[in-house]
Amino acid sequence: MSSVVTTPDPPRFQPGDYKSDLKPVWCAGCGDFGVVSAMYRAMAELQLEPWNTVVVSGIGCSSRLPGYVEAYGFNSVHGRALPIATGIKVARPELNVVAVGGDGDGLAIGGNHFLHASRRNLDVFYVLMDNEIYGLTKGQAAPTTPSGDKTKSTFFGNPEPSVDPCELAISFGATWVARGFSGDLKGLVDLMVAGMSHRGFAFLNVMSPCVTWRGDDQFKVMKAKLRGLPEGYDRHSRAAAFAYTRETETLTTGVLYEAHEPSLLDRLEAQRTKAMQGYEELTTEKVLKVFFPPF
């Protein structure tokens, strides 16, 4: 994200200051409540100025989140949170830009943008709330739905294999990739603070159970699989990270991968500086001169 606006003590902003007065449409027990709570706390920890912060989403249950954050927000169209976030961040690099959405939004219809935001190392923190299902459209299979699972759209069971969003993000070139669980508020806050502070494309996949379409035991099921990364884990190694992707019996949370590489804005800024060497800022007048015959 890279443009964290901080303020000296005492904190001006409490977590509650980031809570808008719009009441969430989410079902009781939805994992996304944990995600938005963690976001309020992470923002408070970093003292993000709400008016210099934009939360962007696509469409889906989780994409309603920007409405619940007291900041600038943009609930756009299905799958397109990242293109919109790209424009906001590149046009106004000084803003804190957070993109959020669900697994269908980010991996199916928006999959191509996920690839390219990662590849560009776009200076945005992207939180994907992964509930392994389409919730808003009432229970169809998503790219993350385990193979064989029966859903509304897979009467005979899901015939397709699923993807691991973290594995994709690392392959695509994201420079900070983590997995969290919405039932672990403290862990989630820590991951969000780290993700928001990362310079470049930071991707956080939050396992965020859908109690309505995946069963109300999902919290228990996921919790039972939880484990942390081992001591001495090398988060700068892609190969090491891949050992903790495509898990079935376990669910490893933590920062799987981190790299320090120039972000998109670093590169654009370097180009601009170079482009301006020996040049005055272009004006219409100067540009028009190019079109007179040069002899």
């Binding site: 808008s20 719009l22 709400p50 008016w51 210099n52 912060t53 934009v54 939360v55 962007v56 469409i59 920007p66 409405g67 954050v69 007291e70 900041a71 600038y72 927000g73 943009f74 609930n75 756009s76 169209v77 397109r80 990242l82 293109p83 919109i84 976030a85 790209t86 424009g87 906001i88 961040k89 590149v90 046009a91 106004r92 000084e94 803003l95 191509n112 943008h113 690839l115 390219h116 654009l268 180009q271 601009r272 482009a275 301006m276 040049y279 800022e281 272009l282 004006t283 219409t284 540009v287 028009l288 079109f291 007179f292 015959p293 040069p294 002899f295």
Partner: protein
């Protein structure tokens, strides 16, 4: 008697330097203050293959490419046959052709050139003798053309010097020798072509630019500082130019993964407070449909340049057509207001683009500029003094409005103050969902109706303030042509010729398609006896669109045909003559 208006066409293969030669002559003409229009055509090959360049130079104002060619240069008859029907010599044209071409002259059939002067020229031999390489045959040709037809000699020589002056030693000398050899050869031809000699007085130099270049200049002029785009023929030049200009003017540019991200990114950029633009062609506009609806719903100003090509689908990527009108005007689900402008020539590309930014900012609507390949990629001279246009910036909320900020406050014009991130007290969460005045999601039918009314009210404001159109010809006329976009050029030229033959003809050319300048059109329609629509698309998209809001008079005639070839002056004349003689409504396109 010399002429004041000359059209040359040159045809050859990739290595023949036809395009370079045309460019050098166009620059030379512009340097002498002549009016120039240059059009290129290529085969489908990525590199090499046949190419043609048609160049019209005139001491008088001109508005269309010359479709009847005075002088034809053919390096290779095989290449010429590939442009048959596109390059049409006049009956008494002068035709210079490669003397060593293996195709026997009796096999070369040019039905229009009934009384032509045929001049064999050993282009290759002359070039090889003078410079040691046949690669210089275009420079030899420049010498011949300069001598025979009065193409600005001094300026052409300067063009050669400029082109080769920076190359390694000897290259310039060799090319100047080639140029001199061409001039010398011209003196030995011994055929009188003086009727084709261009006569003019030198005046101040003019700019030479394409429509796409004019759009890019206009973007910079309007204060656009963010651009996102995806490469597509025939609009990529805008992306290319701005990739240099924006970083040098405090702006930024992103080449996105597809067109829907391009429009998405500029919606983001504009939401963030920076004037933003994308450019594309038909296939890209199709992908942008969902984002058009979002810009309309969330009321975010954006400018989309669509340089139209033949469609649907991949269609004719390198050739012009006026067939994206429906998509531009109607393309979206739901009731999604937008503005559509249609520039009529290169200079107008500048004005339409600045107007687009102004209207976008004034109304917070997406604005589509419907250019087409025929103006986007043709090169014309433009008077620099004409490229002046006021720039309007965004209306941000006052301190009073921020005290109780409502992003979508109801106002008489439908336009609400738009706060920009970074503004304390101006925070809101926008969305593509229907929403209330404070931007909160709202799905009541009452709110939906109210907000639809607000969004559409903005069109009334635009219709009132921007009734952009051109009325050509006399105030009253027997025949009134309705056309749009690049068709204006050939129509204007044809009207001159028709008027000279005593035909009473005028034309109405809307420069804004949505909202349509209805009032001006109705006044115009009352000033003519017969309305005639001329469009380069199969179904008559402007005609059909206009029928949704005006009752066109009985007896209105409609001439439409698919694109792939630009509307020509002779074609327009033919259609108007057929109206006057009461014949055909729709003519078949013949090869």
């Amino acid at each position: 008697m010399p002429t004041r208006d000359l059209t040359l066409a040159m045809v050859g293969s990739g290595g023949d330097g036809v395009v370079t030669m045309g460019e050098m002559m166009a620059q030379a003409g512009a340097r002498d203050g002549l009016n120039v229009i240059k059009v290129e055509a290529y085969g489908p090959q990525i590199r090499g293959g046949e190419s043609s360049c048609t160049l019209r130079m005139s001491a008088e104002p001109i508005s269309a490419q010359g479709d009847a060619v005075d002088v034809l240069v053919v390096f290779n008859w095989a290449d010429f046959t590939r442009f048959k029907g596109e390059v049409v010599p006049k009956a008494d044209a002068v035709i210079l052709y490669e003397a060593s071409d293996p195709t026997p002259l009796e096999d070369v059939k040019i039905p229009t050139a009934t009384n032509a002067t045929w001049i064999p020229v050993p282009f290759v031999e002359l070039a090889t003798k003078a410079t040691g390489t046949k690669a210089a045959k275009n420079i030899v040709t420049l010498g011949i053309l300069a001598e025979l037809f009065g193409i600005p000699q001094e300026s052409v020589r300067k063009a050669v010097e400029f082109k080769f002056g920076k190359k390694k030693a000897g290259v310039l000398e060799a090319n100047l020798k080639g140029f001199a050899a061409g001039r010398e050869f011209a003196g030995t031809i011994g055929v009188d072509v003086s009727a084709r000699k261009l006569e003019y007085a030198i005046s101040a130099p003019k700019l030479v630019m394409t429509g796409n270049e004019a759009c890019a200049v206009a973007a910079l002029h309007s204060g656009c500082r963010f651009f996102a785009g995806y490469p597509i023929t025939p609009s990529s030049e805008v992306l290319h130019l701005l990739s240099e200009w924006l970083p040098r003017s405090g702006g930024r540019i992103v080449q996105t993964e597809d067109e829907l991200s391009a429009l998405g990114a500029i919606i983001g950029g504009s939401f963030a407070g920076v004037k933003s633009m994308t450019s594309t062609s038909g296939p890209g506009l199709s992908l942008m449909a969902e984002m058009l609806g979002l810009a309309s719903m969330a009321e975010i100003p954006v400018v989309i340049l669509d340089v139209q090509r033949g469609g649907p689908s991949t269609g004719l990527p390198t050739k012009s057509e006026q067939s994206d009108l429906y998509m531009a005007v109607f393309g979206s689900h739901g009731d999604a207001p937008r503005i559509v402008l249609a520039p009529t020539d290169v200079e107008d590309c500048f004005h339409a683009t600045v107007d687009a930014f102004n209207i976008a900012e004034e109304t917070q609507l997406p604005v589509i500029v419907l250019s087409d390949q025929a103006i986007g990629q043709s090169r014309q001279t433009v008077e620099k003094a004409n490229l002046v246009h006021e720039v309007i910036d965004r209306r941000t909320p006052t301190a009073e409005e921020l005290a109780d900020y409502k992003r979508y406050a109801q106002t008489p014009t439908g336009v609400s103050p738009m706060s920009v991130p970074g503004t304390k007290g101006g925070m809101y969460q926008t969305n593509g969902l229907e929403h209330d005045e404070t931007a909160r999601p709202a799905s009541s039918h009452v709110m939906h109706e109210k907000m639809s009314r607000k969004r559409f009210a903005k069109l009334d404001f635009v219709e009132e303030k921007y009734p952009l159109h051109v009325h050509l010809g006399p105030e009253k006329a027997d025949v009134g042509i309705v056309c749009w976009g690049s068709s204006k050029g050939p129509v204007e030229e044809a009207m001159k010729e028709l008027a000279a033959n005593g035909v009473s003809v005028s034309a109405f050319v809307p420069r804004i398609i949505m909202p349509f300048p209805k009032k001006a059109f109705l006044e115009y329609a009352a000033s003519v006896k017969t309305l005639v629509f001329l469009e380069v698309n199969f179904v008559g998209q402007l005609y059909n669109y206009m029928r949704t809001f005006v009752d066109l008079p009985a007896g209105t005639r409609v001439f439409t045909r698919s694109g792939g070839m630009n509307l020509s002056v002779s074609e327009v004349k033919g259609r108007i003559e057929s109206v006057l003689s009461g014949s055909g409504v729709r003519e078949e396109v013949t090869a």
